[in-house]
Point group: C2
Chain length 246, copies 2
């Protein structure tokens, strides 16, 4: 049976996250509804690189599904886009080998987090960045970012509600922060991420930027494996799943 891989963009503002839930508008739910129409009522299960929470956006979420239909791989994007709502868009589609799996084959994921750092809010950016009106020391954040790169147990920076089995060791290839005028942008590239990990890292790094946490303390926080030591979870609307590499 042909297997199709799609790269998706979505505006998370009006979705109850990625994963299907009864009676809720979700990304997976909208995708499977469109696929069911194309397959004349047959239910098609979609597999993603991972979930995203309510309000989190995607520029490069990746999914796969199997189909009995012999539509050329690169035509699936247009077919789906004609049925999908305007806040969910397939950027590219292709046929992939039977062995491909959108979740198990991930080599690297990239998240970006956007902050508006000025006193006045920007109502037009309210769903796509976090309005943080306090003074920030970017150099302190950049120093802290370096302590996060590499292979660590990220228990301190994952939700205490996480239900992930197995260890919480992950490798971050890049943790960086740039300020351009009143725009602050965080980049996170890693082998994998724990539940809420990016948002807890951002929340903690902002406390570093405010001088509430010393950059060097990040090392100790990692070692202690205690969620209570980290900062608040930054809000969902600043977070974008940017890219998934296979």
């Amino acid at each position: 049976m042909p297997k199709i891989k799609c790269i998706l963009q979505y505006d998370g503002s009006n979705f109850f996250g990625y994963q299907v839930q009864p009676e809720k508008r979700t990304v997976q739910g909208e995708l499977e509804k469109a696929l069911e129409r194309i397959h004349k009522g047959e239910k098609i299960r979609v597999h993603a690189s991972g979930r995203t929470d309510t309000g989190v956006h995607a520029k490069g979420q990746t999914i796969h599904f199997e189909t009995k239909l012999y539509i050329p791989g690169n035509s699936w994007g247009r077919a789906l886009n004609s049925l999908l709502p305007e806040d969910l868009h397939v950027k590219a589609s292709e046929e992939v080998p039977e062995s491909f799996h959108a979740r198990y084959d991930v080599l690297e994921k990239e998240y970006r987090y956007f902050i508006l750092n000025r006193k006045e809010p920007d109502i037009f950016a309210r769903n796509y960045s976090y309005h943080f009106p306090y003074k920030i020391n970017i150099e302190a954040i950049q120093e802290a970012c370096r302590y996060l790169e590499g292979t660590h147990d990220f228990t301190t920076f994952s939700s205490a509600r996480a239900t992930v089995k197995g260890d919480k060791v992950r490798t971050l290839f890049e943790v960086s922060c740039q300020k351009n005028g009143d725009q602050i942008e965080f980049h996170f590239r890693g082998s994998g991420f724990l539940y809420n990990m990016v948002r807890i890292l951002v929340g903690t790094l902002l406390e570093v930027g405010q001088g509430k946490i010393d950059p060097i303390n990040i090392r100790e926080m990692l070692e202690k494996k205690d969620r209570r030591l980290a900062g608040k979870t930054a809000p969902a609307q600043g977070l974008f799943l940017w890219k998934v590499v296979y």
Copy 2:
């Protein structure tokens, strides 16, 4: 009684336009609700520079109201913002002389219209620009813009449904169009605008850009005073009331 002037921003996406309507969420409705709370149940009437339609945004809409409360003029912004929803924001407030009127004293209004000119849509810009995927000749549009500047009867470029009394002669100080990558931006500055005028002008200028209308024909279209000669009304989401000058 003190008179207060406020400069407002709003994201028009989730408003049924500016003007109060029963059972509908409108900008004026939200403002008057907040003012009623501040005035402990007393109804306060707000006067704007003019209405905006459903989906149209504002960066610099201007309103005034009268109040019995002796709150410093520049404190009204903060007082209102604490009660207003997150898609409506007071940028500045001040006390003005009793003779000031937000509608009658307008010297100049500026509108801007934003277009995304590429094949692929941008789901994150879908509420703030018009996705126009066709090839456009910007020089032809710029030539047509020049014929629109100055004092003309704009009957051809106003909604046939308009109920404005009086003549349809208006003066446009600036009509311009710039392309920057796949972003196209129109600027319109004038003494006043008729109902739907900017959106009909943009719709017509896009037909000029596609080669459907010759730029020089704009002159004849103005002279004939016939709405049927102009192009389609461009959609609301690309339009911003940018500034009002008194």
